[in-house]
């Protein structure tokens, strides 16, 4: 419902920008700046097509390629997750963090880092050495999904999920996990390397990502995006309350399950791959809503595309202007997204009052 040509146009523009930004990821950088042809050759070779570049350059191109691909997919997943949850909760303040997904993933990853800590920190930092990045990603995924399922179980009664209870449960569980994380961090305060690994994960990272990471976040995003046609109109109808939606024929319980499942899956995969990237799931759906209104068919698809562009753009800014500073994506997101969002709120206070 709703519609017109404007959403289609914006979607096309975002998709093109997504591709353009991945190209820029290949070329831009603090030390090595290849020409376009070299960058493309390196990227194709990284994807298993064509001849590899010489020596070091190929490795650099591949790192940048997977960084770009992962950044796009992670941004898309987080924004889609946020848009789904805002629609379900009929609350513009809902975001993936409310399901405990971020905190759960961080807890899982921290435990994995603790387990690996005994092997020495180099093992953690070097992607060439064994399975540690995947072990951390795997632990993060289990922690994320486990926390989400736990919160949903606590918040449901007789097979129905109560949204207010869910929000409150999320706050409580988030508080518990924050405490656990602080306990873990203070317990390893003396071990500088482990401490460093924990911290970097907490701030989110796109360094040293590879095809396995891309496959993980990509499949989560793919499966979650599949539900869009079957929940978009339903979420529009949720806007007047669950009871009203039910009277119009919406299978409310089933729809909630689809939405929560998709939001949890995409967010969990993203957080498992890139760590905590706050704010994106909250701010991108808002930006899109300001542009195209409340129709979820446009809102969900454009949030997905917009999330990819937003995180890639942030990453490009970071790599080009703050390269030596090594600001992690989560930090960048807060530094850029926060003030930007405030500015928007300030400008659009009136039109946002409907939410």
């Amino acid at each position: 419902m709703g519609g017109g040509r404007k959403p289609l146009l914006i979607g096309l523009l975002l998709a093109l920008t997504w591709i353009l930004f991945i190209g820029l990821e290949l070329i831009a950088g603090s030390d090595v700046i290849p020409d376009l042809a070299t960058a493309l050759q390196g990227a194709m070779a990284g994807l298993g097509m064509g001849e590899a570049l010489e020596g070091n350059l190929q490795a650099i191109m591949e790192l940048r390629l997977w960084r770009g691909i992962c950044a796009g997919l992670v941004g898309a997943s987080l924004a889609l997750s946020g848009a789904l949850l805002q629609g379900l909760f009929r609350n513009g303040l809902a975001e993936p963090g409310i399901l405990g997904l971020n905190a759960g993933a961080t807890l899982g990853a921290s435990l994995a880092i603790l387990v690996l800590g005994g092997y020495g920190a180099q093992f953690l930092d070097d992607p060439g050495l064994g399975a540690s990045p995947f072990l951390i990603a795997g632990f993060a995924f289990v922690g994320s999904v486990g926390t989400g399922v736990f919160i949903m179980l606590v918040a449901s009664f007789g097979g129905r999920v109560s949204v207010p209870t869910l929000l409150l449960t999320g706050i409580a569980v988030n508080a518990c996990i924050s405490g656990l994380l602080a306990a873990i961090q203070s317990a390893v305060l003396a071990d500088f390397e482990v401490q460093r690994a924990l911290m970097s994960w907490t701030w989110g990272t796109l360094d040293d990502r590879g095809p396995t990471h891309a496959a993980m976040v990509g499949s989560g995003l793919f499966l979650s995006a599949l539900v869009i046609p079957f929940v978009a109109v339903e979420l529009d109808l949720f806007a007047a309350g669950e009871e009203d939606a039910s009277a119009l024929g919406v299978p409310v319980g089933f729809t909630k399950l689809l939405v929560l499942g998709a939001a949890a899956l995409s967010c969990a995969c993203a957080v498992a791959v890139a760590g905590q990237i706050a704010f994106l799931g909250l701010v991108v759906p808002h930006l899109i809503r300001l542009m195209v209104g409340n129709s979820h068919r446009s809102l969900l698809i454009l949030s997905l595309l917009g999330g990819a562009v937003f995180l890639l753009g942030t990453d490009l800014i970071q790599r080009n202007f703050f390269g030596s500073w090594q600001l992690q994506p989560g930090v960048m997101m807060s530094l850029i997204g926060g003030p930007f969002f405030l500015y928007l709120l300030f400008r659009r206070r009136r039109s946002l009052s409907a939410w």
Partner: protein, 265 residues
């Protein structure tokens, strides 16, 4: 007479504790406008939620097409039963046309896209409820009365044969009260069944075929307008602060009129 919807011995208590319905029966026929009358808290709105399958009774059953209403798929149920709610939980940030299109949800196919038939049904429903000129306005820009007519339009767009209306005229001016009731009367005369919850004795008196009087979750009395809108019946439930009169209707018939009356102390 074709029975469209039957409620059998419904019991319900909110949270399992606060009793709302006590052995309620109801039978809605095709081509009938059945008025549900009763004081605040007598269980009328709960009854509407039962009849639309939104609440599960603690005991008893609601039968739609001979089958428990809650065993129908929600979409299938919504093609047969439409609800005009008293209030919405929240006001969607939608335009009137899109909101009324929501009434077509149960008719939409696998991809949930509106076809020509859906758009025609919405246009016709908007016109009949006299809100055709508001189609591009935001719901939040409408007056209370306009919103209420938009809710009626959405229920019409649903093209169900049963219409459950929870105080559809509560915030309408006199002209639009009559207009909405005339609309309901017209669909009833075309064969639909309508359950109307209202506190307005005089609209009920003019438009309904049958009146079911409720109090404390029970059916106190049931019958024609002339049988129910009488001092002996209503005073059991409403006390004595009512004024009764008779207005000449067509031919030699009279129509009862009931007004809240202060009676001097």
């Amino acid at each position: 007479m074709v029975s469209l919807l039957q409620a059998r011995a419904l019991n319900y208590a909110y949270g399992g504790e606060i009793p709302a319905l006590d052995r309620m029966d109801l039978d809605l026929q095709a081509g009938e406008l059945l008025a549900l009358l009763g004081p605040n808290g007598s269980g009328k709105s709960t009854m509407i939620k039962m009849l639309s399958g939104l609440l599960r009774p603690d005991a008893g059953e609601v039968l739609l097409a001979g089958k428990d209403i809650r065993s129908h798929h929600p979409r299938e149920r919504a093609r047969q039963v439409a609800v005009v709610p008293q209030v919405l939980d929240a006001l969607p940030g939608q335009r009137v046309g899109d909101f009324v299109m929501g009434g077509r949800y149960a008719h939409m196919g696998f991809w949930r896209s509106a076809d020509g038939q859906d758009r025609a049904a919405v246009a016709s429903a908007l016109d009949r409820a006299d809100v055709g000129d508001l189609a591009d306005r935001l719901l939040s820009e409408l007056s209370g009365g306009q919103r209420q007519r938009v809710l009626v339009a959405r229920a019409f767009a649903q093209e169900a044969e049963i219409l459950l209306c929870d105080e559809p005229t509560a915030s309408l001016d006199p002209e639009h009260q009559l207009m909405v009731l005339e609309l309901l009367r017209a669909v009833v005369d075309a064969g639909m069944g309508v359950v109307l919850v209202s506190h307005d004795f005089n609209l009920i008196s003019q438009f309904s075929d049958r009146v079911l009087l409720m109090d404390a979750g029970r059916a106190v009395a049931q019958g024609s307008v002339a049988e129910i809108l009488r001092a002996e019946v209503l005073s059991q439930v409403y006390g004595s602060r009512l004024l009764f009169a008779e207005i000449p209707a067509e031919g030699s018939a009279v129509s009862p009129m009931v007004l809240p009356w202060r009676w001097s102390k």
